[in-house]
């Protein structure tokens, strides 16, 4: 469904051109969840924006091919790209605080893609579908959320709203650019669960971008590891996590905090502290 071939992204806004993504290759099947990991600055968000067709800066050069169902998104006409955006390709962003327009109520924002891509649907039906969608992303009281303004919702709720807005046209590909980074851990787990359910029920392929390897392990079937704009390793979760070939991947995996270790460390820390306290008491 999605084939990215030899994608190179190069910025020309300085004297010396700067390449942020080198020879990026990716293949995604319909209904597949692929994780894209890497440290900040490794080019993962840039790649995501390019796939979503959102990189239209004058001062950059894009080479390679991004084939979505056979159509090259880098060379196709803007009207063709726009007819895919929102309808077949959707995206959710990292910061739920800024990804909703503060001056509009939630309802119209969830409906936006529907309004653009299916102008034939009347107002009542649109509202019905939007509320259904809000209910589908496990928001309580979807009618109330529909009439609320973004500032009245919490971060987790806004991210759900974003997912609802992204999913309203039933896209084939959902790009999630660090959708859980700005949320706390319990909400993170809920969002991941939600994405998993959406993938299962609606057969939406998800490109999940994160720097959190443990989240990727829970969610994805395949993973691509990036460093400094290049792919350093890719394969199924078992392959990469079980026997990482590259040193960088090994380091990343080693950096996942482990519960037992942490617990043990805290215990030892505690005993050290109490010993110290005891000494002070003794004095």
């Amino acid at each position: 469904m999605l084939d990215v071939i030899d994608l190179n992204l190069e910025f020309h806004d300085h004297l010396v051109p700067e390449t942020v993504v080198y020879d990026f290759d990716l293949h995604m099947e319909p209904g597949e969840i692929v994780g894209l990991v890497g440290e900040s600055g490794s080019g993962k968000s840039m790649t995501a924006l390019a796939i979503a067709g959102l990189l239209s800066r004058h001062d950059m050069q894009k080479r390679g091919k991004i084939l979505f169902e056979g159509q090259d998104l880098l060379t196709c006409r803007r009207s063709e790209l726009r007819s895919l955006q929102g309808d077949d390709i959707a995206m959710i962003f990292q910061e739920p605080m800024t990804s909703l327009n503060p001056v509009y109520r939630i309802g119209p924002q969830v409906e936006e893609a529907l309004r653009i891509h299916s102008p034939g649907i009347d107002k009542e039906e649109r509202k019905r579908r939007a509320i259904q969608m809000l209910a589908d992303v496990d928001l309580e009281e979807p009618e109330r959320v529909y009439d609320a303004y973004p500032h009245q919702l919490s971060g987790g709720m806004r991210q759900r709203v974003m997912i609802a807005a992204a999913m309203i046209c039933g896209p084939k590909l959902l790009i999630a650019d660090e959708p859980t980074t700005a949320l706390d851990v319990t909400v993170q787990a809920q969002i991941v669960k939600l994405l998993k359910r959406i993938n299962r029920e609606k057969k939406t392929a998800i490109l999940f971008i994160s720097h959190d390897l443990s989240l990727i392990r829970q969610l994805c079937q395949r993973v691509v590891v990036m460093q400094g704009g290049r792919i350093v390793e890719s394969g199924s979760i078992e392959e990469v996590y079980g026997s990482p070939r590259m040193e960088y991947t090994q380091k990343l995996i080693a950096a996942i905090p482990r519960c037992e270790k942490k617990y043990a460390r805290r215990q030892s820390g505690k005993s050290a502290q109490s010993a110290k306290g005891g000494m002070q008491d003794g004095r």
Binding site: A52, G53, L54, H58, R82, S83, L84, Q85, G86, D87, I89, A90, M91, I92, F93, Q94, E95, T98, S99, L100, N101, P102, V103, Y104, Q109, E112, A113, I116, H117, M162, A165, A166
Partner: protein, 263 residues
Amino acid sequence: MKKKRSKNFTAGAILTGVMLLFVLVGFFWTPYDPETMDKSVKLAGVSFAHPMGCDNFGRDILSRVLKGSGTTFLVAVGTVAIGTLCGTVLGAFTGYFGGIVDEVFMRINDALFAFPSILLGLVFISLLGSGKYNVIVALGIAFVPSFARIVRGEFIRCKNLDYVRSAKLAGAGDLRIMFVHILPNILTVLSSSVMIGFNNAVLAEAGMSYLGIGVQPPDASLGRMLSEAQTYLFSAPGYALFPGIVLILMVLGFSLLSEGLKE
């Protein structure tokens, strides 16, 4: 918490309301015909028959102030309307698209910006000729650069925000993104600059009429009256005083309102 508006806003709203009422009354009713001259009351002082006295031709000053503030108000509104409309469209396109068009327009803008707007107004008046409507056009054009600059800055700030991206990703066209998604978000900034622009326009009109190139006699305008009054400053101080006070109150009301809005 939100219901408590600032004192500035309340004071500004009341003052502006009173001035609007004053202007509105002036459009429909004046105690005397503002253009009828009467030798017998030439430069008369304050009296019951003429609450603000009479000018050098024996015209009732209250009537002329009522009519004149209407003219001044009209010119200011027209100026700000032209400035805001053209400035917003220009700023939106240059800010949103960027690139070479942006560069060209903004350098022209910078060049225009370097001149005070009164001076620009003077240039356009000398090209167009004087008169009420030409003043509006001239000042309007002179006001475009400042609005364009403000709007452009806001568009540049907004165009890379996530909600604009997600609108783009929903498949919205450029015009829809510019005017449906971004514009409402910059209205607060725009509205306070509209208020300030209004004040500047009132003062610019008064200034140009004072210089004798603005509104032409026998039309009354506050600036024109001030300029005519200066020769009679000692014999009939009311002639200069009352138009001046009305002008000050008008500007003050809008200043307070814009301050209040900003808070």
